[in-house]
């Protein structure tokens, strides 16, 4: 079985600040990390590898320094990685990104059994690249997957829906996007990191993957950012301090809720 996991390097959004003038992210003091949802996708792949034996390949598209997320994945147990990096890819929207990744997967193998993504990336939050790749590859798609079972060329997955869990069966190959309700990601061991640091990671550009220039990067991106604005700042609300007299605070809250007609 050959499993491909697509990962993205994203800014760590736990402590993000927005420049009030340009409404863009202030990068200073913000670290780059592997998109957290992709960690769950990787873990599902590694569990399948543990259970059935598989080759797990990680792919990312980004600037040259994005290779660190591939190494992190390899430190955890992925077998190899591919870095898609080229100026021609710059400015790609989700369509052009999906195209480039699909091209890379085509070059990598004629038969990928499973192609896994995180549910979405925490920077753009679009959740479109996984489905986009499935379209380009003309391959079955299951989104919001929380567990994967594979038997022969058939799979059974559970997907996390708002109203409950769906169980879906199908035939490989398939593209899946994974939610954080999946298994807890493993840690990279020190010896795993040592091996991953030394690993050779091929860098592929647009030409290497046979991507049409007009379909890459900004040229291939129909999405245009017309305006960026920050959502209006929410007022702080009302705070009840219950440290001194909790019961009084509770009564106050109940009174307030009654007044608003909530309770």
């Amino acid at each position: 079985m050959h499993i491909i996991v697509c990962v993205k390097q994203v800014p760590d959004t736990t402590n993000v600040r927005i420049n009030p003038e340009t409404n863009t992210l202030m990068r200073e003091g913000v670290e780059s990390i592997m998109n957290p949802f992709d960690e769950y996708a990787l873990e599902e792949a590694l569990r399948l590898k543990d259970a059935h034996g598989a080759r797990v390949t990680v792919i990312t598209m980004g600037p040259p320094q994005a290779d660190v997320v591939l190494r992190e994945a390899m430190a955890r147990g992925a077998d190899d990685g591919v870095l898609l990096t080229d100026r021609a890819f710059a400015g790609a929207d989700t369509l052009a990104t999906s195209y480039a990744i699909a091209q890379a997967i085509r070059k990598l193998t004629s038969r990928a059994d499973l192609i896994l993504f995180g549910k979405q990336a925490i920077d753009g939050d679009t959740a479109q690249v996984g489905p986009g790749v499935s379209e380009f590859l003309n391959c079955a798609l299951v989104t919001y997957v929380k567990s994967i079972c594979v038997e022969g060329d058939r799979f059974t997955v559970e997907t996390q829906m708002d109203e409950g869990v769906d169980v879906i069966e199908g035939r490989l190959p398939a593209v899946m996007t994974v939610v954080k309700e999946a298994a807890v990601p493993r840690f990279a061991s020190l010896s795993g990191w040592m091996a991953a640091k030394k690993a050779a990671i091929p860098r592929w550009g647009a030409q290497d993957v046979g991507a049409a220039p007009e379909a890459c990067g900004l040229n291939g991106s129909p999405t245009k950012v017309v305006k960026i604005f920050a959502p209006p700042v929410k007022t702080g609300g009302t705070r009840m301090d219950g440290r001194e007299e909790p019961s009084a605070a509770v009564e106050q809250i109940l009174k307030l809720l009654h007044e608003k007609g909530v309770a």
Binding site: N15, V184, R186, F187, S189, L190, S191
Partner: protein
């Protein structure tokens, strides 16, 4: 938990902690050997922080002598430090409103032209240079134990297990720690290093005097852009410290929009109701300080202890198989509160020794001892010696401290010639019955005066909460006694609100921990043991 380490990882030189001292060791060693055309050893650095620099906190106005000859001109120019000290001031703060600017900056405090900026960033830069020379730096791995051979020689470290739940059981992602063995281990853990202190105790390496510490609390404040103030620095003495506690602060304009503000308070303070974080807020509210951060907003926070014992507290820096470098050895000039350059000089002295050991393939204790001799020839060591007695008199009286500092400086450390005794930090605390503190002037919360938990949030600190609490309370009965006798000072000396007294019981919110080590040092019953949380946990400083 029983460790099921697979095979042992072998390296040549292992550095524990990716701070400036360790990185200077690695860089100097690799560059030195390369320049001589000799074969390069495998140099491995392990760091408990999630990234390089995430547990590094300093001022920092950096005495650039540590870089001379180690970094090229071009590399020095490319350092991620924007400002050079352009104007200096020195203030005596009398109380919450009054102050006097000392008309001249004392010669030992002068720093004109020195780089001033974030040590976190500088450390990240040094790590990149090290990796370019072939060193391997691994972050998120805490060395939790020294490994010794049957003869008691340090031969490596063991890293901590990951994925252990609060009861100590393996979770689904349990990852056992691993052993790394090396020809020599360089301990660059920083102030109050746990493995370092264990080694010092086990091998009886203590200096003539116990180490003394101060807690340094720092914020980065974003201010409206002002190009004219870049490089402006000010140091203070006095308020909100009392007359018998060594304390002071600084404010550094490190870029047009960023100001670093810090207050350091000696941990041999006496009154259990003293609260360094509250003092820090009072300090920032002083008109002299407030003028520097007006219209600004605090955006980053951190705290760390600073070794202040100086010359007499420096341990023997060599044990069989191990060298101690940097703050872990207490190599801080206690008058200038500068240690970065000495840390680098110690690292370079260690590197020169290791290069020799590699050439002769002799890592015996006798061969490693050359590091101690080299360290004593560094400029940094001479500075330590000159101010060897500066710190202690301050614990008696500020005026005495200033006079004796002047005296020591003028006589190049000759006077006073005896080691002035200094009480140990935790014994200095007096029982509550000595009287309550008068109510402190209240400081309103504001953009440059966040409360403690807001500050903790800005430190970025985070710990997996389903793991054993890394702050071990050895004896709960001692807590009960402490609550009565001292009023549970842990609630106050902790700058991160880890300890809470609720219904007569101390709760430990270890996830707030900044790894500053104040609790272990100041607890009057020495009842708190700081152990390592899961590697990668802890503060996430990005510009401290």
């Amino acid at each position: 938990m029983a460790n099921t380490a697979k095979q042992v990882i072998q390296t040549d030189i292992l550095c524990v902690g990716a701070g400036v001292a360790s990185l200077a060791t690695a860089l100097a060693l690799l560059r030195g050997l390369k320049a001589q055309g000799r074969p390069l050893p495998r140099v491995t650095v392990v760091e408990k922080g999630r990234s390089v620099g995430s547990h590094v906190l300093s001022g920092a106005v950096i005495d650039p002598s540590g870089f001379d000859g180690l970094l090229t001109e071009e590399e020095i120019a490319k350092m991620p430090i924007e400002a050079r000290v352009s104007s200096e001031a020195f203030h005596m703060l009398f109380d919450a409103t009054r102050a006097m600017r000392i008309p001249w900056v004392p010669p030992m405090m002068q720093a004109h032209g020195y780089p001033v900026g974030s040590l976190t960033k500088l450390t990240q830069y040094l790590a990149q240079l090290c990796e370019r020379e072939g060193a391997e730096v691994y972050t998120g791995f805490a060395a939790v134990e020294l490994v010794e051979d049957a003869k008691g020689r340090v031969i490596g470290v063991r890293t901590g297990d990951k994925g252990v739940d609060r009861e100590g059981r393996a979770k689904s992602n349990f990852t056992p720690g691993e052993e790394i063995h090396a020809k020599a281990v360089v301990l660059g853990e920083g102030a109050c290093g746990i493995l370092t202190d264990r080694l010092i105790a086990a091998k009886k390496l203590q200096g003539r005097r116990e180490q003394s510490y101060a807690i340094g609390i720092k914020e980065v404040v974003e201010v409206p852009a002002d190009e004219a103030r870049v490089g402006e620095i000010a140091h203070t003495f006095g308020y909100p410290s009392d007359w018998s506690t060594y304390g002071g602060g600084f404010v550094y304009h490190v870029s047009p929009t960023q100001v670093m503000i810090c207050f350091a308070y000696a941990l041999d303070y006496a009154h259990p109701e003293k609260d360094p974080h509250t003092l820090f807020r009072q300090f920032k509210a002083h008109p002299v300080m407030a003028a520097h951060i007006q219209g600004g907003k605090s955006v980053a926070y951190g705290a760390k202890v600073i070794p202040e014992g100086g010359y007499y507290s420096v341990p023997q820096v060599v044990a069989d198989g191990a060298l101690i470098v940097g703050d872990g050895a207490g190599l801080v000039d206690t008058l200038r509160i500068k240690g970065v350059h000495i840390a680098m000089q110690s690292g370079r002295a260690a590197a020169a020794t290791l290069a020799e050991c590699l050439a002769k393939n002799d890592f015996s204790l006798a061969a490693l001892r050359a590091y101690g001799d080299r360290l004593r020839q560094t400029e940094g060591w001479k500075q330590l010696k000159r101010v060897k007695n500066v710190r202690a008199p301050f614990s008696t009286n500020l005026v005495l401290g200033v006079m004796s500092a002047g005296c020591a400086w003028a006589t190049h450390g000759a006077l006073p010639f005896w080691p002035v005794p200094l009480e140990s930090d935790h014994e200095a605390l007096l029982p509550l019955k000595g009287g309550r503190l008068p109510p402190a002037p209240r400081v309103e919360a504001g953009p440059t005066s966040p409360d403690r938990l807001t500050d903790v949030f800005m430190s970025g600190t985070i710990h997996d909460e389903d793991q054993p609490c890394h702050l071990k309370i050895k004896d709960r009965k001692a807590c009960d006694a402490c609550i009565v006798r001292y009023g549970a000072p842990c609630q106050r000396f902790c700058p991160a609100e880890v300890y809470r007294l609720e219904e007569g019981h101390i709760h430990v919110d270890f996830s707030n921990c900044l790894h500053c080590k104040t609790c272990q040092i100041k607890d009057p019953y020495q009842n708190i043991e700081w152990t390592f949380p899961q590697g990668g946990d802890g503060p996430r400083y990005t510009r401290m």
